[in-house]
């Protein structure tokens, strides 16, 4: 209470200082939430690619997603490589024929594979908000399971139909959010995806290809104990015209790019916080100078230096705490509104975690206290008699 009263002595100045901290913490919360979202995407991918190998055509392979066609017969060649247990071929293509919006993270995708072709090896858990999973019996029919963001964006539920690349599909299931790639995907039976993919190819390429012999990617599950890197090297040497990607490759390619982005985001937030922190130093220095005489009184009547420092540091910490809480509240509002607005267009940018919230407030409190420390120590070292004479 006493500390609040001290802050209320100069309400305008205190408010401005708190606003400085507020802006810094606001930036930290918003950018931190953005970084969280990116991290969730990356770690989802990292987990997904751990202990398996993605095989794509070596032409046109970028970051593991390739639009170049491969023959299904490649699956047999890969299966013959030492260390390979199961090969699950799939077709992946962009949902939009001509992508119009730049997406953060993963663009909307159409993926097709024969349900169960991984032979139970895929341990990425998918939960269904509505409906059911695809089954091998769905091959040949036009059905789809939608990721949560896609379902939300187009407002589709089980029983509705959705147009994908000009073909009408019946929605049989909707996934729970995973915070990573499946949220932005529509899963099809392999045959349906193959047909869509074939249609999307230029006429020149179509010649000589049979739609139902096509795949764009193959997921390779390994024999127990096999080293992904070694097996990946073997596949590239033994199977012609394919490229491989392992979990390590993914981390190197995507992980390093996103960690730079994260560093930039958090860096911006920290710079704004540093400015806010300096404003606390300034405020505390001024406020202490104004109170020189009062500090002299307290020292004269027996207040120890430690007590004086403690009082002032707590007061500065309180500025930080208030600024942090307001910044967190404003940041949470932006994150909420941003995600609500983004969801309708399928782009969820932010994820505010409890960790980010607690870190932001704790950080601003500690920052405030540290900012108050130097002027406080300076004040406590004043000679009480000189301080008492101070006008």
């Amino acid at each position: 209470m006493r500390y609040l009263r001290n802050l209320a002595r100069r309400p305008v100045r205190t408010t401005l200082t708190i606003m400085g901290i507020t802006i810094g913490i606001w930036a930290l919360v918003v950018f931190g939430s953005m970084a969280n979202k990116i991290n969730a995407l990356v770690s989802g991918g990292s987990t997904y690619y751990a202990d398996k190998i993605e095989v794509t055509a070596s032409s046109g392979s970028t970051g593991g997603f390739s639009s170049a066609p491969m023959s299904l017969s490649v699956a047999d060649a890969v299966r013959a490589v030492d260390g390979v247990d199961v090969v699950s071929p799939a077709v992946m293509l962009l949902m939009d024929e001509q992508p119009t919006t730049v997406n953060m993270g993963v663009p909307p995708m159409i993926t097709g594979s024969v349900a169960g072709s991984d032979e139970g090896r895929d341990d990425f858990v998918l939960r269904y908000a509505e409906g059911r999973a695809l089954t091998p019996a769905d091959e040949g029919s036009s059905v789809t399971v939608l990721g949560s963001d896609i379902a939300r964006k187009y407002d589709k539920h089980v029983g509705d139909t959705i147009d994908l690349r000009g073909t009408r599909f019946e929605v049989v299931g909707v996934l729970e959010p995973t915070l990573t790639a499946p949220d932005q995907a529509a899963s099809l039976p392999l045959e349906a995806a193959q047909l869509l993919y074939f249609q999307s190819l230029p006429a020149v390429v179509q010649t000589g290809l049979h739609p139902l012999e096509l795949a764009t990617t193959m997921t390779v599950y390994l024999d127990p104990g096999a080293d992904p890197e070694t097996v990946a090297d073997r596949i590239e040497t033994q199977v012609p015209d394919v490229a491989t990607m392992t979990g390590k490759d993914f981390d190197q390619q995507i992980g390093s790019a996103t960690s730079i982005l994260n560093a930039i985001l958090v860096g911006i937030a920290l710079i704004s916080l540093a400015v806010g922190g300096l404003s606390v130093v300034n405020t505390m220095a001024m406020s202490i100078a104004e109170r020189t005489r009062e500090i002299g009184i307290k020292r004269a009547i027996g207040g120890s230096r430690t007590r004086i420092v403690r009082e002032l540091v707590l007061e500065a910490g309180l500025i930080g705490l208030i600024g942090g809480l307001i910044g967190l509240a404003l940041g949470a509002v932006v994150v909420y509104l941003g995600d609500e607005a983004g969801r309708s267009s399928g782009t969820v940018l932010f994820e505010l975690t409890l960790g980010t919230a607690v870190t932001a407030v704790a950080f601003s409190t500690i920052l405030g206290a540290i900012a108050g420390f130097v002027p406080a120590v300076h004040a406590a070292r004043l000679d009480p008699v000189t301080a008492l004479r101070y006008e």
């Binding site: 009263r5 002595r9 009184i297 307290k298 009547i301 027996g302 207040g303 120890s304 230096r305």
Partner: protein, 256 residues
Amino acid sequence: MALLEGRNLRKTYRLGRHNTVDALRGVDVVVGAGEMIAIMGPSGSGKSTLMHILGLLHGPDTDGGPTPELTFAGRDMVALDDGERTRIRAREMGFVFQDFNLVPTLTALENVMLACDYAGRGGSAGRAAATEALGIVGLSDRHGHRPSELSGGEQQRVAIARALVNQPNLILADEPTGNLDSEHTEEILGILRRFNRERGQTFILVTHDSDVGAVCDRVIRMRDGRIRPEPVPVPPPVAPPIEPVAPERIAVVAGS
């Protein structure tokens, strides 16, 4: 018995590189327990400096002359560090200042409680002691008032309550009535005198007001950083002094 004993107390303030002020040039002083003394002298005579040294706010200079000595309640004070001096100020001394020097954001009660807190008596014990102290100075109905809501006399009574709340042996007051009118001066002096008599507490008052000196047991007069020797009593004049003529009588004479 001496409560406070100082010898060879010197203090030189360095204001600039070549500008020093010898505020105290070697003072010996003994204050007995239960005494109420006044230190008087013109500005710059060193009276405040002496009080600051006796009240442990400053240490005496240890170089440039005979070794200073300062004992309080039988303990040597010269060698103490700042923390130990602060502790003694908090627990065994009380301070009253000319400008009242209350903390402006705290209420009267909180100002008094602050001294309890510094003396290690926090919480409800401190609150009870502070309430009692405010009652003794006649401010029972002013607990929740901030200093800005109190008159000068009331503020100084709060300051006295703060100085007395820990029942210290020694109370030092620097011009305690300097900012008060004569009515409030009498009131404050009355309170101080009462505590000195009833509780045997020792008071050192720094003042340039001879009315304040008059209520004290003893006056130490200072000039130029030294204690002036007691003047040799002047023998009473042989001839009776001429009675001054009252102004009203002059008026009567002039008007007749």
